[in-house]
Symmetry: C2
Subunit: 232 residues, 2 copies
């Protein structure tokens, strides 16, 4: 039976000396996600990762191609958290739920957006499954390949773009909002009156009845798609 103890050292009773949990790609990636969640992408170094796994940095290379591979791997893990099969009668509600699930996953792991979008052609499995799933639902709803493509783009752009925006105004390690407050205090409201208004808009405790900003934009897009005639 597998030992899923989080601590990396366990005890072998027969030999009576400490035995390390064996390293594995999965364990490396899990710890990498933890580090990045807690201390930011900057802190995810091979040495730090090795340290947290009670191992020298170079040991990681037996299980992982290199740092790039690790980055791909943790993105894959996060995107795997997205719920792609929410039960729903309509394509619209189903896509809406998936989009919200994606948004939540990205917020849980704020470093993901930036990584997903670094320009190259890696094929990250869960990312491909995700895209495939959105396209499939639009096609199943009767939309043409062209409309499905464009609809997918609009939805995904909104998810990534909006989440990035949200996160851009979060300071890592400033949960108390202290830095944010000083920022707001010294903001030049005279030069940027509407931006100032916008800032205050964001600070306002939002009515829990009211829809969030993310859903607002999402519905704009879904409305638009719904308005396009299906071709069957």
């Amino acid at each position: 039976m597998y030992n899923v103890n989080l601590s990396s050292v366990t005890h072998n009773s027969s030999t009576n000396h400490p035995v390390r949990l064996p390293l594995s790609r999965d364990r490396i990636l899990q710890v990498a996600v933890d580090i990045t969640d807690k201390e930011g992408l900057r802190s995810l170094t091979m040495r730090k990762l090795g340290h947290d796994l009670d191992v020298e940095a170079m040991a990681l290379y037996r299980h992982v191609q290199g740092k790039a591979d690790i980055l791909d791997g943790i993105v894959d893990l996060v995107l795997g958290e997205i719920d792609l099969s929410p039960y729903s009668s309509s394509w619209r509600m189903s896509l809406r739920a998936s989009a919200i699930s994606a948004h939540e996953a990205l917020l849980r792991h704020p470093w993901t957006c930036g990584l997903v979008l670094s320009p190259n052609l890696r094929t990250i499995p869960s990312r491909m499954r995700y895209i495939e799933s959105i396209l499939a639902r639009l096609r199943a709803a009767g939309y043409s390949p062209s409309v499905a493509s464009r609809g997918y783009h609009a939805i995904d752009s909104h998810i990534l773009g909006f989440t990035l925006w949200e996160l851009g105004h979060t300071i890592p390690g400033d949960s108390s909002g202290e830095l944010l407050e000083t920022f707001i205090r010294q903001f030049d409201y005279a030069s940027f009156p509407f931006l100032g208004e916008h800032l205050l808009e964001h600070l306002k405790e939002s009515d829990p009845e009211e829809m969030g900003d993310f859903e607002f934009g999402l519905d704009l897009i879904l409305d638009g798609i719904e308005g396009i005639a299906v071709t069957r």
Copy 2:
């Protein structure tokens, strides 16, 4: 009069020995943009930047705070290229034109998106002017602060998200599309039929009459905003 020669060495006719163009923040940022456009963000190192300016890396620090400052600076330059005052009778056409201008600027300098959205609270002047300008036009159109805020978000998310998506499928230094082609050839169409269809959709020579994918999503959003009642 200012010497705007791109070469960093000019000739002083009285002393008859080469005289370096003086370094300046502006010149540094210009060259930084050039390097990043041509060789990617990875290649923008202080040493490379110094080399291209015929100067040691450390000389830059007399004119610039550090690398982070340079990154902010080049983002500022690019966002400054966005046309914020396209003549137009309606808010909708005006915003549409600005959004397209922003999209174009981001495509000209593909590294910008990632930089704009790295999470922190720097205040990049042209970015603030840009946001202010969009908000102002929505407010002038009669929308409430809340709708203006959310409308702005939806538009900006689309611009950044969509452009990032586009660029994610571009390989830096693969203008011939060679890498892309091998990617397409070895793509697993059986496992991801709709993604495959989507890929082909992208490869198709687009009808010049037809609207681009960017405008398609943009109009979805603008339609949505237009459908919201103004409050005056």
